[in-house]
């Protein structure tokens, strides 16, 4: 069973504010679903299987062994047509001229 405190802790990480009622319901639902997930403990994992590309030592070697190719590109923005840029700015809830306003983060 997942505790109330855990639900609240996770909700903070997830940037969700849950009401008291939501916390109780979430506690019940998550417990039930994670209980089902425990089925995975029964699964025997095998050698080569160890994952696509996450969390592995010798990442490169592992990736090559399962046929993964890197597709990174240069971190460079393609310029957009002005009407599109205008629309993107227009979509922001709070803006000034061609800038999106964000509250102070400190």
């Amino acid at each position: 069973m997942i505790s109330k405190e855990e639900v609240i802790k996770i909700s903070k990480l997830a940037r969700l504010k849950l009401s008291e009622g939501e916390v109780s319901k979430m506690q019940k639902d998550l417990s039930e679903v994670f209980n089902y997930f425990n089925l995975l403990k029964k699964a025997k994992s095998q050698s080569k299987a160890a994952v696509f590309s996450v969390g592995i030592k010798n990442k490169k070697e592992k990736e090559e062994s399962i046929g993964i190719k890197r597709i990174t590109r240069e971190d460079r923005a393609d310029s957009q047509l002005e009407p599109v840029v205008k629309k993107l700015i227009e979509a922001a809830p709070d803006k000034k001229n061609s800038h999106i306003k964000v509250k102070s983060i400190f």
Binding site: I2, E6, V7, I10, S11, L13, A14, R15, L16, K17, L18, E22, K25, M26, D29, L30, E32, V33, F34, Y36, F37, L39, L40, K41, K42, A43, S45, Q46, K48, A49, A50, V51, F52, V54, G55, I66, I71, R73, V84, K87, L88, E90, A91, A92, P93, D94, I100, V102, K103, S104, I105
Partner: protein
């Protein structure tokens, strides 16, 4: 006016236009009228794009009158799941958080449809952000199954499937992360096709789980699904996961087809009537010369758990963008930026979306990452290997789409796990990136049953070819 015949296909419409039996404008008006009449009870549409549809139809009529060559989708009116962007049209993803969001550009699939002469009638209802199996998780309305209004159409592309089944459009686009095209296609008795991962660009598809999402057609025939797939597939520089495909050239014939039937998909929990109809369809294929072989995909039993860890994990990251700053709803509360985030997300996101973000955040959190996320990724790879081994010996895999026919509205909304279990037979194709089609093959008390055919990666055309053989057997 002779467009009274039910269920016009894409080619029927094109032929009618060329023979000048009707105009594109007449066809479009006819569908708009039908939506007006039918959608009061079906609730398939969230937004109707009447103006856009009429102007597109007029363009086609102009081509006809000038005697120019008609593009492949000419004048065939379609609907689009409201999670795919159409420039200058609202796109809500079924969520309050995007209730007033206007798409600033066309998704690549929409651009391709428009370039091929499509007429777009409107945007269809869905489970919020594609998260659900019944379309009941929409923030706006409950879509009804056209075959029985007390039942769900399936989800998450429920609006698209219901619109096609009720003939409120000729065909529709949907998206499929764990069965979201195939399940509603099965429940509503239409053809639903999820292409190979990478076959179709997702640029302009609102992201749910990026290693699983794929766009595909819902249609009245396999032939139509193929025509639409032909239009929307292809490499796109705006989606780095889209593939440059050298389509395999081989042809399938029913006589030489080797069909695998995995025993893990016919276990207890499946409605015996559904099982019977699927087995009968397989038998018919065998009578036509196909070779049927029982196979085993041993990791199937873990697929659903792995899926419901991986998809919510990716969703928890993808949905972090809804922060009340860049677009969509903003609860600009007093206080700091964190208050904006929390206020916006609490008000704008529905219960199921919050649940999935929590599931994902929990699975990825330190202390649980190894036991859940990493383990799920391992299982994913083992499932993929299961399929690879099976496809050494066989061409295609036949399974049910769902253990049951369409369930009652409200039946599963209070129990998330029972809702998740509706996807038990469809998630594997997403986890392994395989193409899969749902094809109507029978009915139980007026409720459609679908058979799922899973193919090898990038054998999409061969899969559809085989599906069309089976479609003819089921008629």
């Amino acid at each position: 006016m002779s467009v009274q015949k039910q269920f016009l296909t894409i080619n029927d419409i094109k032929k009618g236009l060329l023979e000048k039996r009707f105009s594109a404008l007449e066809v479009t008006k006819n569908y708009l009228k039908r939506i007006k009449e039918k959608d009061e009870e079906i609730n398939a549409f969230l937004v109707r794009t009447e103006e856009l549809a009429l102007s597109q139809a007029k363009e086609i009529d102009k081509l006809v009158s000038e005697g120019k060559k008609l593009p492949v989708l000419a004048g065939a009116p379609c609907a689009v799941k409201d999670i795919i962007l159409i420039k200058d049209i609202k796109c809500t993803a079924g969520s309050k958080i995007l209730e007033n969001y206007i798409a600033p550009y066309d998704a690549t699939v929409i651009k391709k449809l428009k370039d091929s002469g499509a007429v777009i009638l409107g945007k269809t209802n869905l489970d919020e952000f594609g998260m659900g199996s019944s379309t009941e998780n929409s923030a706006f309305k409950i879509t009804k199954n056209p075959h029985d209004l007390s039942r769900v159409p399936g989800g998450s592309s429920g609006g698209s499937a219901a619109a096609v089944a009720a003939d409120e459009c000729c065909y529709a686009l949907g998206s499929d992360t764990g069965g979201s095209i195939r399940l509603p296609a099965s429940f509503c008795g239409v053809v639903g096709f999820k292409p190979t991962y990478g076959a179709v660009s997702r640029y302009g598809l609102i992201a749910f789980a990026s290693s699983l999402d794929q766009v595909g057609p819902l249609a009245k025939s396999v032939e139509d699904a193929k025509i639409i797939f032909d239009v929307i597939s292809g490499k796109d520089k705006m989606d780095s996961t889209s593939a440059e495909v050298k389509w395999p050239k081989s042809d399938y014939s029913l006589k030489n087809l080797k069909i695998g039937v995995p025993k893990e998909y016919f276990i207890k929990g499946i409605d015996p009537e559904v099982k019977k109809i699927i087995k009968e369809t397989i038998k018919k294929a065998e009578e036509q010369g196909a070779k049927i072989e029982e196979i085993s995909l041993p990791y199937t039993e873990y697929a659903l758990a792995a899926f419901y860890i991986i998809a919510p994990s990716e969703a928890s990251a993808n949905l972090a963008r809804y922060d009340g700053i860049k677009y969509g709803l903003s609860e600009n509360e007093k206080g700091g930026i964190l208050d904006v985030y929390l206020g916006t997300r609490s008000k704008g996101l529905g219960q199921e979306v919050k649940r999935r973000i929590m599931l994902g955040t929990y699975s990825l959190s330190s202390g649980y990452y190894d036991a859940y996320y990493l383990k799920a990724q391992e299982i994913r790879n083992l499932i993929k290997e299961d399929f690879e081994k099976a496809f050494d010996k066989i061409d295609l895999i036949f399974t049910p789409v769902s253990p049951t026919t369409a369930f009652k509205i409200g039946e599963k909304t209070e129990d998330p796990l029972s809702m998740y279990l509706s996807d038990v037979f469809t998630v594997t194709a997403n986890l392994a990136g395989l193409p899969a089609v749902s094809l109507p093959c029978g009915k139980i008390d007026n409720l459609p049953v679908g058979i799922q055919i899973i193919g090898k990666p990038f054998f999409d055309y061969q899969l559809l070819q085989a599906a069309s053989f089976i479609e003819k057997l089921s008629l």
